[in-house]
């Protein structure tokens, strides 16, 4: 068997040499036969003729020889391919269109596949684990659904004691921290404290030195490759160097592999290091031991299953000593309710409870979307192909009439389609790589690694083959189904009426489905443009510095649950001292500490006296509350023109539910006209949540800060109004008169001296932060518009192909009509109306879906302005209609260019 396969491969590879050998072998045979006959007394000429006669037809014999060697199929395939290339070279424009459309259609599928494959099929980046390594993740009930919840060390020990289920267990917790070393600029790293088996379970080896081992207790660290590269310029003598973390000397013992980012995504910028768990108390003595800050992975015992481990862990969770929330000022939002646990596979991004179900749903949604995209693409390309095949029906008919088997002609056409599809697969890989780059540029980084590997490439080629068969087979069957005679007589009408119906249906479906997509994209573009407009740069941005500091014991997503009041107050005092020290720096004119919280929504307030002016919707105003402190408004360049700013004593008002606010000039004028706004009140009188706002000041104009867009209904409130979103970091704003760049190192030094355990999470000017924000908005606008344009183009192409096909089919009918006096305009109108009719049906069918989609979009993204929604729909309907009109008018016009004399002569 193997010998035969090798022999076949040989005969394929050395086809040309074997052909030559065969030819010379046969020539020799003929020559010797001729010589033999000559020797018998025949003349040379006659001998040669006789020998040839004996021998038989040489070319036939050669073909027999090829069949014997099994390579004749390859020969005809090569000639099919050659024919296909020649055919496409004659129709470059159609070919290019087909390839581009296919590339896009396949690329959309490949991008979705890549995302799904990366999220559901991959362990965390740089980790090689077998199936028996699992994630143990905690959850709790919050706002009616299960939310992520880290474990305390005690709980981790409980799970580790499940010896029948888990062979080994590792836990870790992360904390940002400032690192310094001689000869290196201070940098912020995410320090992950890991228990001994962490690296064993993840199967990660250090690329230099060693990882953290089970016996480690002293402060030693494994440095991430990115940190080694960026902060130490790949210093070859890094092992054994000592760095200071929160003023504690730590020895570097190893470098992690390039792609390794930990068992969960800890740091966006990959600046990371890993330390042994016991060293945590040395670096952060204030964090209580039983603070729920830990995540865990485990290796299953041989013979047990994930389901069994899950059940056992759930039993442990039931009687767990999940700690009661500490006496926290954040209120009961932090109390643990109904703690539970899940044993899940270790994937790149599945820390959330029930992540696998969400991933499965997303996969199904992606698969459906991908199939639809492919179907629409194939419908479009199929239409174009049919058009091409129609133009070739004479050629095909002649081949058939000369005796070519139908299978042979169909194979020729399918070979052509597959050939195009394979080129498109190459294009799709390119488009995918571009799209992934664009995505990464806009998003910055994903919580998982986007893996575009050989599986994804293979997927794109499989998709291409599928598409090639899908769009190639049907036109091929249709084009060859016809009897030879009618095709030669050019009876085009008979070609494919069934196909037309299918095609039209697909075009209608395409318009119906792409329209909602276009509407949602348009809404997103409008929202992004509005956001861009409302976020102009702060004129003083170059002189405002954002200094964001970590808060010890805070877990991203988990909130500040680990701190008690004493620790919080201590940290607060420390930060105030830091702000005082910063204010003393030469060149600093203002400094203020703002809790880093999202703006607070203050909904449905109305005037305490005299109702509301008629133009406010529902008789109420919807305000956005922004935390402010003394000096803050001056700092960002929005001075108070009337009354006073927010003062420290205003916190008392928050507890009394009468909150002092500073409002904008515009809002004051709208609500109270020329009356003095100071002392005016707004109130919300709902029973459950009564609250009164009292105007104490008016600020001058709209100046933006980070996350604070221009908004006439923005009011400044005391910082402790926010009740439910615990801060995980603090923001110190500085106004400097010197160039900001020259200040950063000094600022870092002051932070290190005053608050050694606080990590600098961000130290940038407002201008650069706003530029970045605006860049992301631009990226969004470009991406959404780009996708929208492509979607519309695809739609147009489908319609164009259908109308062009119809025109091509009915050429003789048009010729007859024109010969008996129809005017060109009537003919054009006939086809254009047909196109518009199809798009009108599509738009009508799609409109309810559009509205539904828009509602959905509104509910998940409040930035989308709902005022202009009817306008958006109108614009898209007109847009889709316009594109449809154009797409049907262009081929329709060609119908009128038909010369009746030429066509009728051909009949």
């Amino acid at each position: 068997m193997i010998t035969r396969a090798l022999l076949w491969i040989r005969s394929v590879l050395f086809r040309r040499r074997l052909e030559d050998e065969m030819r010379s072998e046969m020539a020799q045979h003929l020559e010797r036969a001729t010589a033999r006959l000559e020797a018998r007394g025949l003349a040379r000429e006659d001998a040669r003729r006789e020998a040839l006669h004996e021998f038989g037809r040489v070319s036939y014999l050669q073909e027999e020889g090829r069949i014997a060697r099994g390579t004749h199929g390859l020969d005809s395939f090569v000639s099919d391919l050659r024919f296909a290339v020649r055919h496409f070279a004659r129709n470059p424009l159609s070919t290019l269109t087909i390839v581009v459309v296919l590339s896009i259609g396949i690329a959309i599928n490949v991008v979705m596949f890549t995302v799904v494959h990366s999220v559901t099929g991959q362990p965390p980046s740089g980790v090689t684990v077998s199936d028996d390594v699992v994630r143990i993740r905690g959850s709790q009930l919050r706002d009616g659904s299960r939310a992520e919840r880290p474990f305390s060390l005690g709980e981790v020990e409980d799970y580790a004691s499940l010896g029948t289920q888990f062979a080994a267990l590792a836990a870790w917790t992360s904390q940002p921290v400032t690192a310094s070393a001689p000869g290196v600029r201070d940098f912020t790293v995410t320090a992950t404290f890991v228990s001994g088996d962490y690296f064993n379970l993840l199967g990660v080896q250090a690329v230099r030195g060693r990882t953290i081992a089970p016996g480690d207790a002293a402060p030693v660290a494994l440095l991430s490759h990115a940190a080694w590269e960026r902060s130490f310029s790949l210093d070859p003598d890094i092992i054994g160097r000592t760095i200071l973390l929160a003023d504690v000397p730590v020895t570097i013992v190893g470098i992690a592999p390039v792609r390794f980012r930990g068992a969960a995504w800890e740091a966006r910028d990959d600046m990371q290091l890993w330390l042994p768990l016991p060293s945590r108390t040395q670096l952060f003595p204030d964090i209580p031991r039983d603070a729920p800050l830990f995540f865990a992975i485990a290796r299953l015992q041989p013979g047990t299953t994930r389901a069994a481990a899950d059940a056992a862990a759930k039993v442990v969770a039931k009687r767990s000593r999940a700690p009661k929330a500490p006496d926290s000022e954040e209120g009961d939002a932090l109390l643990t309710r109904d703690p539970s646990v899940e044993v899940a596979p270790l994937l790149a991004d599945n820390l959330e409870p029930g992540a696998e179900v969400q991933l499965r749903d997303a996969t199904v949604a992606f698969a459906i979307l991908g199939m639809l995209t492919l179907l629409v693409t194939c419908a479009n390309v199929g239409s174009l192909q049919t058009g091409l095949a129609l133009a070739r029906r004479r050629e095909l008919a002649i081949r058939l009439s000369l005796g070519a088997h139908r299978y042979r002609v169909v194979r020729q056409l399918v070979t052509e389609s597959l050939f195009l599809a394979l080129i498109a697969a190459g294009g799709a890989v390119l488009v995918t790589l571009l799209l992934i780059r664009a995505l990464l540029m806009i998003v910055g980084a994903f919580s998982f690694e986007l893996v575009f590997d050989e599986t994804a490439v293979a997927f794109s080629f499989v998709m291409a083959l599928l598409a090639g068969l899908l769009f190639g087979l049907s036109p091929a069957l249709h084009a060859t189904r016809l009897g030879v005679a009618p095709a030669l007589r050019d009876a085009a009408g008979a070609v494919a009426s069934g196909r037309t119906r299918l095609q039209r249906g697909l075009v209608v479906a395409q318009i119906a489905l792409t329209q909602p997509l276009a509407v949602c994209l348009a809404a997103l573009v409008v929202a992004a443009i509005a956001q861009y407009r409302d976020n102009p740069r702060n004129p003083n941005g170059e002189h405002i510095i954002h200094l964001r500091l970590s808060s010890a014991g805070a877990v991203a997503g988990g909130g500040a649950m680990a701190r008690d009041r004493a620790a919080l107050e201590k940290e607060g005092r420390e930060r105030e001292q830091l702000v005082d020290a910063l204010r003393e720096l030469p060149g600093v004119t203002h400094a203020t500490l703002i809790p880093d919280r999202a703006p607070i929504r203050l909904e449905a307030f109305s005037r305490a006296s005299g109702g509301m002016p008629g133009d406010e919707q529902g008789g109420a105003v919807y305000l956005v509350g922004r935390a402010s402190k003394p000096g803050y408004l001056d700092l960002i360049g929005t001075p108070v023109v009337l009354g006073r700013e927010i003062e420290l004593a205003d916190s008392a008002g928050v507890r009394a539910r009468t909150i002092p606010v500073v409002v904008g000039e515009d809002m004051a004028r709208r609500l109270w006209g020329s009356a003095n706004p100071i002392g005016q009140r707004l109130q919300r009188s709902s029973d459950s949540d009564a609250m009164t706002l009292e105007v104490v000041g008016v600020y001058k104009s709209q100046v933006t800060a980070l996350g604070h867009a221009r908004n006439p209904f923005a009011v400044y409130v005391p910082p402790d109004l926010s009740l439910d979103s615990p801060a995980t970091s603090q923001l110190i704003l500085l106004r400097v008169s010197a160039p900001a760049e020259s200040m950063t190192q000094t600022i870092r030094e002051v932070v290190r001296a005053e608050a050694p355990r606080a990590a600098v999470m961000e130290l940038r000017t407002l201008a650069s932060l706003q530029d970045q924000e605006r860049f992301i908005l631009w990226g969004g606008i470009a991406l959404f518009s780009g996708v929208g344009v492509v979607v519309l183009l695809l739609c147009a192409l489908g319609l164009y192909a259908v109308i062009a096909f119809a025109v091509g089919q009915r050429t003789s009918e048009i010729a007859v009509r024109m010969a008996i006096g129809a005017r060109a305009r009537q003919i054009v109108r006939g086809f254009a109306v047909e196109g518009l009719r199809l798009s009108a049906i599509g738009v009508a069918v799609g409109l309810p879906i559009s509205i539904l989609g828009l509602r959905q979009l509104l509910s998940i993204s409040p930035e989308v302005p709902d005022v202009s929604l009817p306008i958006v729909i109108a614009v898209v309907v007109i847009g889709v209609g316009g594109v449809a009109a154009l797409a049907s008018w262009i081929p329709a016009r060609r119908a009128a260019a038909v010369d009746p004399a030429v066509i009728l002569r051909r009949e």
Partner: protein
Amino acid sequence: MTNPNFLTGTLELIVLQLLRAEPTNGYDLTLRIQALSRDVLNVNAGSLYPALYRLEQRGLLKASWAESENGRRTKVYALTAAGRKQLAEQRASYERFSNALATILDATP
């Protein structure tokens, strides 16, 4: 000269048998068959060469270029080990068949 109908099935057997003696080229094979069958069997090139290629493709023959006595390079075919085995099998089965046939022909008057 016409060939009896059974030649088609037995050409492979004949070729293998003749090549067992010594490696030979295609033309000499046709002459050899003609001579050994005393002009009863005349194999034309149209059957011989495809048969040779098929046998080669199945790994029963091995072709190589060799110098002939008049100093020209010709393609000669030789039996491989697999070919030898195949020949033994085909020969045994042919003998069984021809004995059976002979028995039938003798038994009935």
